[in-house]
């Protein structure tokens, strides 16, 4: 990093000038050439002025170089971004916004407020969905000093979609690995909740739902009517079929995807009459 950096000879200079549009900077005519001259030198620490010292009491070995490096508080830095001293890149470029900022928002932002940004933070796609797909996801940390639970709940219910990825996190507390989702049966006024964490296969879930609603139906039809035989099943051959709604709002037949994928995407379950499946937009068209 030695002093002057130029390209070739001075013939380049004017060409560079012509290229520079007016839309970004105002360079006063007479001083253009001078300002194009690039001078770069890092002043010895002392020159920066001890008044810029910042009281960072670190390991404090007190070497001059360290102190020099630790100098310059942000305040002086910001106000001196267009430093007139010789220690800086000597072009009179203004900030993109044309002003110095003393706030934390920098000059170069394409968005006015923090929001979804493509490719940021820099995590690869297969990492993005790890926690969304894990049944052990427990986003609340008991030891957390930030009381982030409320904030978490709120922000996740809003469910920002970034990058088109799968970002509807399941914000259900699962202290013991349990995972309750709502289940409604057609013809039954009151829904129930079933703990998906208690099962690991579709068969077990299906029989549990069977038991649950058989009781419900029996209760509902008190009086003389017989209990309805609810031969439910994942294969849709019984009178009732279990379907579920996933995090994208689609209705799916139970059993379509591997169990762990189902568990990570399911939002609610529904028990529908098999004969009326096609009217709900599923089942009839699907080949199994």
């Amino acid at each position: 990093m030695e002093g002057i950096a130029r390209i070739g000879d001075q013939a380049i200079g004017p060409k560079l000038l012509n290229l520079m549009p007016n839309c970004r900077e105002e360079v006063s005519g007479q001083e253009e050439e001078k300002k194009l001259e690039l001078r770069l030198g890092l002043a010895p620490p002392g020159e920066r002025g001890r008044r810029h010292h910042h009281n960072l009491n670190l390991r404090g070995d007190g070497s001059d170089l360290d102190r020099g490096l630790l100098l310059s508080s942000a305040r002086s830095l910001r106000s001196n971004v267009q430093h007139k001293s010789t220690t800086h890149f000597d072009l009179n470029l203004k900030d993109v916004k044309g002003e110095h900022n003393t706030t934390t928002t920098t000059t170069f932002q394409k968005r006015t407020a923090p929001g979804p940004v493509v490719g940021w933070p820099p995590v690869r796609s297969f990492r993005k969905n790890i926690t969304a797909n894990s049944i052990n996801n427990c986003l609340k940390r008991p030891s957390s000093s930030h009381d982030a639970v409320e904030a978490n709940n709120k922000s996740l219910v809003d469910g920002e979609a970034i990058d088109g990825g799968n970002h509807n996190y399941q914000m259900i507390e699962r202290p013991n690995g349990s995972m309750f989702v709502k289940i409604n049966m057609e013809g039954v006024a009151i829904g129930r909740k079933v703990d998906l964490g208690a099962y690991d296969t579709y068969d077990k879930l299906s029989s549990a739902v069977d038991v649950l609603f058989r009781d419900l139906l029996a209760v509902q039809r008190d009086g003389g009517e017989e209990a309805i035989t609810t031969t439910e099943g994942v294969d849709g051959r019984g009178e009732y079929t279990i379907v579920y709604e996933d995090n994208e709002g689609d209705r799916m037949l139970l059993g379509d995807v591997p169990w762990h994928m189902f568990v990570s995407t399911v939002k609610r379950l529904r028990v529908l009459k098999t004969s009326e499946l096609s009217s709900h937009g599923i089942g009839g068209r699907q080949e199994r």
């Binding site: 490096l69 890149f89 591997p258």
Partner: protein
């Protein structure tokens, strides 16, 4: 006139076969014509860091007898969706040329390239001695292509698909390895989403006595593990499948016994969805572990700490931020040999912290782990003080990548930019080769980097800097810089054009959402004919706009091959007549 020092070529070639570093061989080849020739014919390995830096024909004519080729394609930011689909990086032209020129090719290692099934089939047909296929972060192929490899590569030793995207046609490709096939040493199928034919996999494992490395995919349930491990107790490197099913006592005790039988196990990974209750099953191998990758496991901190406390010989640890500061304190006190730490974010897209992971965790590790060289750390807050402490504790750092999740985040204690902190890093860590910046940063940090980071080879910049001075400091100061990638930073024409010559000493430069004008791209291209200056614009034709308009994305790299011919419609490059040229989007394979 024969000099007494001239050897027959065969002797020279034999001597050169003892030189392993490409840089040494390159130096030898420059000594004189006969050494150049000897090196040329005896070179066995080639590493091509940018697939567009030379043509396949160029490679085979320069080195006619290669046995091993490593090629990298897309720019690094392609990992984060910044490079549009169809950009390029096709492997087929390479394999087509090599299939003729290198019948004795043994090894192909690719990173971020588009590999078609056709290319894989060509590998199977063309190289009878083929041994090693590594496809890292690649895409474009399906399990049909893998079936072709399995069926035809009789001497295959390594099949490693790390993090590639594989289209699943069926899990039966594993069955295509013939019964007589026994040479497998390493198999990594962790990226394959669907179920693989497990009985076939078991049989494969059983008949390959030299199998040292096996990474299963997520679809393999934990119940299958004990039998598998029993067939391969010689494993050194193992990746589990999913570990989420209910803990049955039988399965658990089988697992314990199986792991206990693998006395040589040194690396463990996988652990998708793992229930903490399973973890003690691996305790018997923990003492010998040198690598532990738990970055897919959402295990809470206390369980993580318990596991890590069993691993005093750990050299490399990858975890999610569930480890929290408390878990990292355990790392700092237990893992005295730790060289590499990576902490990934569990919930990168929510603004608030969901875990108690701060800069303190890394500070503890920097103090306790004296051999720490490589850091990748995602968190939500940092301070200059912490960075300075880390720098002073660990001047032996060679890779330092800090990602503060929210852009422009200042020092949380002082609200100032983090210039000083990163400045301390580059000042103290004189052997730093790779650096990624984040947080609120002004031009000052680049001044420090240009002054002190003399060994820096790769720099990643995002949402940083104020003026062109920042970019100028980097390009004029970092003598060893090879790769520079910048996004969302206000660097523009002046710094780029002033340092045009520097760009030819680097492998590549990526700039997206910066302030470089189309006119400057054209000018740079005219000035530097051995650079390919490619403008990526998905919305518009940059020629239709005035020259002073900014380009969306810019990728500049040196090349012996001239502008490429496989550019899609959204990539422009400048030809010599000062107008733009846009290649057709015909794909080569």
């Amino acid at each position: 006139m024969a000099s007494p020092l001239s050897f027959p070529e065969e002797v020279l070639e034999h001597i050169f076969s003892y030189l392993t570093l490409p840089s040494d061989l390159n130096s030898a080849s420059l000594v004189c014509k006969s050494w150049y020739s000897a090196d040329r014919y005896s070179r066995r390995k080639a590493f091509i860091g940018n697939c567009y830096s030379l043509s396949p024909q160029g490679l085979v004519s320069r080195f006619p007898n290669l046995r091993s080729v490593e090629i990298k394609g897309k720019p690094h930011f392609a990992d984060f969706n910044l490079v549009p689909e169809g950009w390029g990086g096709y492997f087929f032209p390479w394999v087509r040329t090599m299939s003729v020129a290198y019948p004795w090719l043994e090894e192909i290692r690719l990173k971020r390239m588009v590999v078609s099934d056709e290319a894989l089939e060509l590998i199977g047909r063309s190289f009878p001695n083929f041994r090693v296929l590594v496809l890292a972060f690649c895409d474009g192929f399906s399990t049909d292509g893998l079936a072709a490899i399995a069926a035809n590569c009789r001497h295959l030793r390594e099949l490693d698909l790390r993090e590639s995207e594989v289209e699943d046609s069926s899990g039966h490709w594993i069955s295509r390895f013939p019964d007589s096939f026994t040479s497998l040493v390493s198999l990594n199928i962790s990226c394959i989403a669907s179920e693989v034919n497990f009985p076939a996999l078991e049989r494969l494992v059983s008949r390959c006595p030299n199998l040292r490395s096996l990474h299963l995919n997520r679809a393999v349930p934990i119940e299958h593990l004990p039998n598998l491990l029993r067939r391969a107790p010689q494993l050194v490197d193992f990746g589990t499948g999913t570990c989420s099913s209910e803990v049955h006592p039988d399965i658990y005790s089988n697992l314990v016994r199986a792991f206990a039988g693998c006395r040589g196990l040194r690396n463990l990974c996988g652990f998708w969805d793992v229930i903490p209750a399973y973890l003690p099953a691996v305790y018997s191998v923990c003492f010998g572990l040198t690598t532990l990758n738990l970055s897919y496991s959402t295990i809470p901190s206390p369980d993580l700490a318990n596991l890590i406390n069993q691993c005093p010989n750990l050299q490399r640890l990858w975890v999610l931020d569930y480890i929290e500061d408390s878990g990292l304190e355990a790392v700092a006190s237990t893992c005295k040999d730790l060289q590499e730490l990576r902490v990934f974010p569990s919930a990168p897209f929510i603004p608030e912290a969901n875990v108690q992971l701060t800069e303190q965790g890394l500070v503890h590790v920097s103090l306790g782990c004296k051999k720490l060289q490589s850091v990748l750390y995602f968190c939500r807050q940092f301070s200059n003080a912490a960075l300075v402490t880390i720098a002073q504790n660990r001047p032996n750092l060679t890779r330092f990548r800090l990602c503060i999740i929210e852009p422009h985040t200042p020092d949380y204690l002082t609200r100032e930019p983090l210039d000083m902190g990163f400045g301390a890093i580059v000042q103290h860590c004189r052997d730093l080769r790779r650096l990624s910046l984040s947080g609120l940063l002004t031009d000052r940090v680049f001044e420090y980097i240009g002054t002190y980071a003399k060994k820096l080879e790769m720099l990643s910049v995002a949402f940083a800097g104020h003026t062109d001075a920042g970019l100028h400091h980097i390009l004029s100061g970092c003598d060893r810089l090879r790769k520079l990638e910048i996004r969302d930073s206000p660097f523009g024409d002046r710094a780029l054009l002033t340092n045009a010559a520097k760009l030819e000493t680097m492998r590549s430069l990526w700039m997206s959402s910066c302030s470089v004008s189309f006119g400057a791209c054209k000018l740079l291209s005219r000035m530097m004919p051995r650079l390919n200056v490619e403008v990526i614009d998905e919305n518009d034709d940059p020629c239709s706009r005035p020259d002073n308009c900014m380009v969306e994305k810019l990728y500049i790299y040196r090349s012996l091959a001239g502008p490429r011919f496989d550019m899609p419609g959204f990539v422009w490059t400048v030809n010599e007549e000062n107008s733009t040229m846009r290649s057709s989007s015909a794909l080569p394979s």
